[in-house]
């Protein structure tokens, strides 16, 4: 318990000191995780729609593969991306390794299966009459998808929130592809890992509390907008 309070007070101190380095780290974490979630959402939700909406041979195989990809370890993603974007890799010339963009690439790969699989699950229980009704009222495929999306919003937002939670708390990819370079690619989690490496457990958990607070803030905002939207 002591340990927890120590961490809590460290977190408060960090926040109240408005430590400029902390601000940079928090900013980067947020920017990277939000971008990854956004990109993965823009890719994964439509993908989920295409798979969920259509019946085709091998649909169950595709879903099984997606479920398998949910177990894609960060080390594998990190290394695969690494081999592509490292100097010797196919995309070496782009100089992506150890930049925030590299983290984003890795994280997008990490959560696309999450968002896609959960989108399919969210769609599975949306009454087919919504789709039919939209179509008969004159909606095209895309507009129909929007209608169904609206009805499935709770599930899809849950998917996005889960994906965001996954990336903002993720360490492996940020470490391997970002490199935890101070001032460049240090994120909340890599900073935590570093403090943990140094044995500064209190500070590590303190940073964790700051991270959870930020996540709480994001979710409260989201809840607020969902509430307004639902009206």
């Amino acid at each position: 318990m002591n340990f927890f309070f120590d961490s809590l007070f460290s977190a408060l101190q960090l926040v109240f000191a408005a430590d400029p380095e902390l601000m940079v780290i928090v900013g980067l974490s947020l920017r990277v995780s939000l971008t990854s979630t956004l990109i993965a959402g823009l890719l994964g939700v439509p993908l989920g729609f295409v798979i969920g909406f259509n019946s085709f041979r091998g649909k169950r195989v595709v879903i099984t593969l997606l479920n398998t990809l949910l177990a894609l370890p960060t080390v594998v993603i990190g290394l695969m991306v690494y081999t592509f974007i490292s100097r010797r890799g196919a995309l070496g010339a782009l100089n992506l390794l150890y930049t925030p963009n590299a983290i984003i690439i890795g994280q997008v790969i990490l959560i696309i299966p999450v968002i896609t699989a959960l989108t399919i699950a969210a769609l599975s229980r949306i009454d087919d009459r919504y789709r039919r009704t939209a179509l008969t009222l004159g909606a095209d495929q895309f507009q129909t998808a929007l209608v169904v999306l609206r009805e499935a919003r709770f599930g899809i937002v849950a998917a996005a929130v889960a994906a965001f939670g996954r990336v903002i708390s993720e360490i492996g990819i940020s470490m391997m592809l970002g490199g935890n370079a101070r001032g460049f690619t240090r994120t909340m989690t890599t900073a935590m890992a570093l403090e943990y490496d140094k044995g500064e457990f209190v500070l590590a958990v303190g940073l964790g509390i700051v991270l959870l607070t930020i996540s709480l803030g994001m979710n409260t905002l989201l809840n607020y907008f969902q509430g307004r939207y639902a009206e």
Binding site: R87, A181, D197
Partner: protein, 279 residues
């Protein structure tokens, strides 16, 4: 900072975790205007980063492998920067009775004879490499496991050497120094550590460690650190000028002085090698 004022360096976690870089780098930046982007990871991965051309310079402690790195043309030259030393730690109870033992090999033999719990990092790091050497020097019967993997289309063996008793009294945990210390502390076991990390964990934090130094001072326990700029002949984009500037600066009076004076709670962590008398 503009692109050619940024130098990318991969290093082992120990240099970063010890806090030394937090002293050195700002001073270097002030002197030269060059910012150093530090990528800290395990020794193997750090050297690997250099071999893949992802960084401009590496700063590690695994002398044999560093020399091989230069020999294979990945690096231009090894700059000997500093050393600290390894110590063998254990609980106050010291079941193997190695307290005050000046001979590291004898200490390990005693531990093995007692089958007293020993924590090995087991991660192919500089420390682990050193530990494996010492075990070899004991002349005990060592065991080897071999894994075959494919590299560049060819089968390659990976070997792992350890004294008998793996899992009985010899624990190989495949983690960094700090974690090995925590592990040993938890199990009140013996462990070999670099002095810097030990001091940092023992006195640098509130949680502390219940481990004490039992064996130190053996010449075989020295732990040298080197800096190697990556060879621009292999990777043309390497910022060789800046990398050399960094290496030169580290072996300069200024850099060596900072290293000599870096103390944690009054204890020195590193000893400069280029100018041993630096102040």
């Amino acid at each position: 900072p503009a692109d050619d004022h940024v130098l990318t360096m991969s290093t082992t976690t120990s240099t970063q975790a010890s806090g030394l870089l937090d002293i050195l780098l700002p001073a270097f930046t002030e002197d030269t205007g060059i910012t150093v982007k530090v990528i800290a990871k395990g020794t193997g991965a750090a050297i690997r980063d250099g071999m893949d051309g992802n960084v401009d310079v590496i700063f590690v402690h695994a002398k044999g492998r560093e020399e091989q790195f230069v020999a294979e043309g990945y690096g231009t030259k090894r700059y000997a920067i500093m050393h600290n030393d390894f110590v063998i730690l254990g609980s106050e109870a010291d079941p193997a009775g190695i307290k005050g033992q000046g001979d590291a090999v004898a200490a390990l033999k005693a531990i093995a004879a007692q089958k007293a719990l020993f924590i090995s990092r087991g991660d192919d790091s500089g420390t682990h490499t050193k530990e494996q050497q010492l075990w070899q020097d004991t002349g005990l019967l060592l065991e080897t496991t071999t894994q075959t993997i494919v590299k560049k289309g060819k089968n390659t063996d990976i070997q792992f050497v350890y004294p008998g008793g793996l899992g009985e009294w010899y624990m190989s945990i495949g983690q960094g120094m700090g974690k090995a210390l925590t592990f040993a502390d938890e199990k009140q076991a013996y462990v070999m550590s670099d002095r810097g990390t030990y001091i940092k964990y023992k006195v640098g934090r509130k949680e502390g460690l219940d481990l004490v130094v039992l064996c130190e001072g053996d010449a075989r326990l020295a732990n040298p650190y080197g800096v190697i700029p990556v060879n621009p002949a292999k990777f043309p984009q390497v910022k060789i000028k800046q990398a050399e500037a960094f290496a030169e600066w580290l072996v300069s009076e200024k850099g060596q002085g900072l290293i000599a004076n870096y103390r944690l709670l009054g204890q020195p962590l590193f000893y400069p090698d280029a100018i041993p008398a630096a102040k």
